[in-house]
Symmetry: C2
Subunit: 166 residues, 2 copies
């Protein structure tokens, strides 16, 4: 819980020696991946501090990362994007309409209105296909810079392994 | 660069022993923080694999995390949110209108239209105040569950330290 952060951080900060890294990512790379608690992008991909932007949301969905990617590319110089989805993802377990139904049943009229404004909760039924879809989405998106190198990957929560899809 | 992921990951996967962690975060916690390359949330906050959702976007902005937080709370049981912004954030260096101007100058009419659809790029001028704003935003949001414990923090990229704002 957040109440442990200060104590945990004291240990980290006492050994910290990366205080002068520049703001733009050294590897000109942005990673898009899921918020899932079983994923540690830095450790599992060998990303060192200062090397890459890491954008995380429910599912690691590209359509929900566009604002961040525009800032990453146009203001901070990244030119490569790696999209990761993962096995046993929560997004495989429901349909957007079902979450809307839960909110309609449990929550206030204001909540239902706010959920309607969100619209699609971006769940998906198949991992590999959705990785490809998200890569295609970015390749065809007018705000993503031409010439951006874009790859799509799956992280396997059972083994800690990654595999490239596209 | 992403081409190094497979080799880096082989090392990680060869020592991986957390293959049977459950999908819902053990600490019922969601962290919202910036995509900044100089932040390693797991290491700096002492979050172990399986304990917390980590949502990251440009600025660590709560308004851009609502879809993910709804899924985190209603489908995966989290009941606490910690919002982190950080010193030397890229979001302090520009105004949303300036980014729109860059896109208008450099990019296609389709890109301008897509940027208009994004609207506010969610830049902010002061760290502490914006942390408070984002915490208030979540406390007042109809889709965030009543009784959610919400805290606001700053991560200091120069020292690796965290400080609680609210």
């Amino acid at each position: 819980m957040a109440s442990a952060f200060t104590d945990n951080n004291n240990v980290y900060a006492s050994k910290f020696d990366k205080g002068h890294l520049p703001l733009p990512p050294a590897n000109k790379l942005a990673v898009v991946t899921c918020m899932d608690a079983r994923i540690d992008p830095a450790a599992s991909l060998g990303i060192n501090l200062g090397e890459a932007h890491v954008i995380r949301n429910a599912g690691g969905r590209a359509p929900d990362a566009v604002r961040s990617l525009v800032i990453s590319q146009r203001l901070l110089g990244t030119r490569e994007i790696a999209v990761f989805h993962h096995t046993d993802c929560g997004m495989l377990t429901f349909k957007s309409e079902e979450l809307h139904d839960i909110i309609k049943k449990d929550a206030s009229p204001e909540a239902v209105k706010a959920a309607d404004a969100i619209g699609d909760f971006l769940a998906f039924p198949k991992i590999d296909e959705n990785v490809k879809e998200d890569v295609e989405f970015l390749k065809g998106h007018p705000l993503i810079l031409e010439g951006t190198k874009i790859s799509g990957w799956v992280y396997h929560v059972e083994t800690g392994k990654v595999s490239q899809v596209v």
